[in-house]
């Protein structure tokens, strides 16, 4: 009661400005009771930022994504996975059988340049993302089962979302970041998609960059460092449980470090505040530094399984090489490949023993969903079985070098690429290739550049330029842990079969697409997971993609920063902390 009164008073006092969003005290293990403010959170990235433009950006670690922090209609609560209204003023009013959402926008929010954030910003952002000429990475998020989601402005502070069907992921979908209409909307109306793409390149002065979120770009030094300053307009409507404006920090910086080792070195030297622990080696180094008293840091090993996948996909669209296309489309071949994948050795050798074997697209951290699909088939490491399957396809003879040959004497071989520089993936590929050799399959394994690889992977058409690719995915949400841009046919990352028309080729694909949307439309958690279980079964039978292993998620951060999640809330999905609640001790 008292709390409500306080809120009411606050409302009365600042009638012009917004009712703030209060970050729950339970979201941090360490309250900033001394009200420490200022300071810088120092992070690192592996390769330079490529753009500032939110509509052309494709990487997870990007300038737009950093600025988008704390800017979405809803925010997920790590305690119970529920969506809290954030930029929204309250829970939406749902109607039309769960397909229509009317959302009131919190009033008084401002962009970093002082312009008010209104319904127009959402409308513009949606329009640009959904324009295929722009080529936004989020394009797929605005379609459900091939049908568009539409957004209507009811008034300056009210939006109406119309979903073509019920969607469990509706809250996540609605939580995209609104970019300023007065920048992008203007350009889009005047010059269309091309004009939008020309905005906010790396050459743009940071002073022209506008952010709705907690950070705004302050400086960008190519190949070195990007610094973000806190957006004080954001702090006006985001408070901690004691009413203080957030974030506590003044700055957030990303240092570009050539490789993960440099990142670890910088962390051990106390130059950055946190770094991803890749494997046992990293943990051992950090532990040594802490034990020797050289580094004051907290190390939490094996916090949870990873929210990532690693897999090998085979290209079904190889018109130029019908023999290979036939092979890759043969389910027996793909099952044989799964039998070849020695996942235990991969965990032991490439992950240093800290990881789990995976057989499905669901990240290992989503244990409930994994449990729901327990009956789905797994094609575990079994070379004899692999040989048997290959013999069924017609590979019974071996040549002088010990490779399987078909009747024409052609060697059973394919090229497998991964991105150069990722040691773990290179080792996974090596192990796969070496195991394949044992049954007589020649795998030409070459690491190539990441961007190039992604270009090949996401290419569309009847003749796509690769045989097989070893890569991983991250992202997505825990409500419906199948990717909208992965599972349905025609999606951007439907990597194994991506013809021009985007049609499914097999019944299982169609079934998976159907089940995807069915599950997405199911609001009951248990029922949805059951649908997920069916989807996993189809996936297991089809083996469109051979899933390999997943490492464990470890947390390490320098003692100088506080405000991390309580241990129970930390995991690979929610990560280690809210940036808003982070402070320098």
């Amino acid at each position: 009661m008292k709390k409500a009164l306080f809120v009411a008073l606050a409302l009365a006092a600042t009638s012009a400005s917004a009712a703030p969003f209060v970050y729950p005290a339970a979201w941090t293990a360490e309250q900033n009771t001394a009200n420490k403010r200022g300071g810088e959170l120092r992070l690192s990235i592996l390769s330079d930022f490529k753009t500032i433009n939110p509509f052309t950006s494709a990487e997870a670690d990007s300038i737009p994504n950093t600025m988008a922090g704390g800017a979405g209609l809803f925010a997920q609560d790590p305690r119970n996975d529920e969506f809290l209204p954030h930029m929204a003023d309250a829970k939406p009013v749902v109607s039309n059988g769960g397909k229509r959402f009317v959302v009131k926008i919190r009033q008084g929010m401002k962009f970093s340049d002082g312009q008010a954030i209104t319904a127009d910003d959402w409308i513009t952002t949606w329009k640009i993302h959904a324009d295929d000429k722009v080529g936004s990475n989020s394009y797929d998020s605005f379609f459900l089962n091939g049908k568009p989601i539409t957004i209507k402005k009811l008034d300056n502070y009210t939006l109406q979302f119309d979903f073509p069907q019920v969607s469990a992921g509706a809250y996540a979908t609605m939580s995209f970041t609104p970019w300023p209409d007065h920048v992008f909307g203007k350009a889009y109306r005047e010059g269309g998609a091309e004009a939008v793409k020309k905005l906010w390149t790396l050459g743009t002065s940071p002073s022209q960059i506008v952010s709705p979120g907690m950070w705004v770009l302050e400086s960008f030094r190519a190949g070195e460092r990007s610094v973000f300053a806190k957006n004080s307009n954001w702090g006006e409507w985001n408070k901690d449980s004691r009413g203080n404006a957030l974030p506590y920090l003044d700055k957030l910086s990303y240092r570009v470090l050539g490789d993960a080792n440099a990142g670890l070195a910088a962390f051990l030297a106390g130059q950055i505040d946190t770094v991803g622990m890749r494997n046992a080696d990293d943990l051992a180094q950090t532990k040594r530094a802490i034990d020797a008293g050289n580094l004051k840091a907290t190390l939490l090993p094996n916090v949870s399984p990873q929210a990532q996948s690693s897999w090998i996909t085979f290209n079904w669209n190889k018109a130029s090489d019908p023999a290979k296309q036939k092979l890759f489309r043969d389910v027996r071949f793909r099952r044989a490949m799964s039998h070849i994948a020695n996942r235990k050795a991969m965990v032991d050798l490439a992950l240093g023993g800290l990881g789990v074997e995976t057989y499905f697209s669901v990240y290992p951290i989503f244990t409930q969903q994994i449990a729901a699909g327990a009956s789905a088939p797994k094609y575990t490491y079994n070379l004899a079985q692999a040989s048997k399957l290959l013999a069924q396809i017609g590979y019974t003879k071996k040549n002088a070098q010990g490779y399987l040959v078909d009747k024409a004497g052609k060697v059973l071989e394919f090229n497998l690429s991964t991105n150069a520089g990722n040691t773990t993936r290179e080792q996974l590929g090596r192990i796969f290739a070496d195991e394949a050799k044992k049954v007589g399959v020649k795998v030409n394994f070459t690491p190539i550049d990441f961007n190039n690889l992604v270009g090949q992977l996401t290419s569309k058409g009847e003749d796509r330029p690769f045989d097989a690719i070893l890569l991983g995915l991250s992202g997505g949400d825990n409500i419906w842990p199948f990717g909208v841009n992965v599972t349905p046919c025609g999606a951007n990352l439907h990597s194994y079969n991506n013809p021009t028309n985007g049609k499914c080729l097999t019944s299982q694909e169609s079934l998976m697409t159907k089940l995807y949307y069915q599950g997405d439309a199911e609001l009951d958690d248990a029922k949805r997971r059951a649908i997920g279980g069916q989807l996993m079964k189809a996936e297991g039978e089809l083996q469109p993609v051979i899933y390999l292993v997943g490492g464990n998620y470890h947390v390490a951060y320098n003692e100088r920063i506080g405000g991390e999640y309580p241990r129970a809330l930390m995991n690979a999905y929610y990560l280690q902390r809210e940036q808003a609640l982070t402070f320098v001790k």
């Binding site: 490789d259 080792n261 051992a284 180094q285 032991d348 050798l349 240093g352 800290l354 190039n452």
Partner: protein, 380 residues
């Protein structure tokens, strides 16, 4: 008769005449360091030649059931721990466990002893790609496949680093020599042509040399490498690197050859040969090139280490030898990928780096020795 002082008959004095090479050889033999360098190189090349025989294991062998990732080097025991007496050399089998406190994968010797035999049968191979064999210089035999000798320890996948280093020497030691030989042939030809034909040929060739010198070699290599597809046959990749290295390296030699030839051309014996109607090619090969031998020998021996270093650098940047083939630079770059753990927890992965250092040193000693031997001014 006016002679009062008796004379003795004049003695024919024959000054000891030695060929240029004879003199150089006798000089070289006096240089102890150069001799050591030369001897060590012969040793290294012999190791490389018989790599499959000397290496106890195959190039890319590892077990996926018995994890030997970063297996420490295994000391070879020759005394029985119980009796203290001499016994057949043996190593202990190691057990492996991840220490969940320190996160270090700990290896501890078990009680199992694996005797080392000489001349054991093992992995199949072909020496020089021709002579098949299964005999290995040493090894633990086939009785216990989980027990191996790890002279230099194991690498990231548990492959024997000694084996990989020895195999890598085949690439590292030949790619430098190969590139130098090819670039020498090109350099000689180009230089000789420039000198002999003069005029436009000379201008063009020398301008081209200037261009090659003006573009930083690393970038020229990177640029040339970018022309080729990334996913090429590993063997072809090696030839390609060889070719690229040779291509960027011939300029300096061509320039010197041209200079020397220009001066030699003025000398009488060439005119004499021309007067006798010798053809251009004949004059070039028979008369002019021999005057260059000294310079070439010295340059060759001094530029090989440069190429070895360059190759290691390319492998380090990921544009060198491709798995499963590997060069010393490649092994080193794999060690570098392990970060500081490579130095603190498993320093043995840096051993291939010292092979580079050692080889380059040997070549330097040899090259310096040759230079001093052929350089009359260095003689005392």
């Amino acid at each position: 008769m006016t002679t009062t002082v008796p004379e003795r008959p004049a003695k024919p004095t024959s000054p000891r005449s030695q060929s240029q090479f004879g003199v150089a050889w006798s000089q070289f033999r006096k240089n102890r360091l150069a001799k050591i360098g030369g001897f060590m190189l012969i040793l290294l090349y012999t190791l490389a030649l018989f790599a499959p025989f000397i290496a106890p294991d195959g190039l890319s062998n590892y077990s996926t059931s018995n994890i030997t990732r970063f297996h420490p080097p295994t000391p070879i025991h020759i005394r029985d721990p119980q009796t203290g007496g001499l016994t057949r050399p043996f190593v202990y089998q190691y057990g492996q466990q991840l220490n969940m406190d320190t996160f270090v994968n700990e290896y501890k010797p078990t009680e199992t002893r694996c005797p080392i035999f000489f001349g054991v049968r093992g992995d199949e191979y072909r020496v020089l790609g021709l002579f098949p064999g299964t005999l290995h210089l040493f090894g633990t035999g086939a009785e216990n496949p989980n027990c191996k000798v790890y002279l230099f320890g194991g690498e990231a996948l548990g492959r024997d680093l000694f084996t990989r280093t020895i195999y890598a020497s085949q690439i590292s030691l030949t790619i430098g020599v190969g590139a130098v030989l090819i670039s020498t042939v090109i350099g000689l030809l180009m230089g000789a042509m420039a000198a002999f034909f003069g005029g436009i040929a000379d201008t063009l060739i020398m301008r081209f040399v200037e261009v090659l010198a003006a573009i930083p070699s690393l970038f020229l290599l990177i640029l040339l490498r970018s022309v080729f597809p990334q996913d090429i046959n590993p063997i072809f990749a090696l030839y390609m690197i060889l070719g690229l290295l040779a291509f960027i390296g011939w300029g300096g030699l061509a320039r010197v050859v041209r200079g020397q030839m220009m001066s030699v051309r003025e000398q009488d014996f060439v005119s004499a040969a021309q007067a006798l109607g010798a053809g251009n090619g004949r004059i070039m090969w028979r008369h002019m090139l021999p005057t260059m031998t000294t310079y070439i020998i010295v340059t060759l021996s001094l530029s090989i280490p440069g190429y070895i270093l360059l190759e290691s650098g390319l492998s380090f940047l990921g544009i060198g030898a491709v798995e499963p083939y590997v060069s010393w630079g490649g092994l080193l770059s794999q060690a570098q990928e392990g970060g500081f753990a490579s130095i603190t927890q498993r320093p043995w992965v840096l051993i291939p780096g010292f092979f580079i250092v050692f080889t380059v040193m040997c070549y330097q000693l040899l090259g310096d020795g040759l230079r001093d031997a052929f350089d009359p001014r260095k003689r005392q």
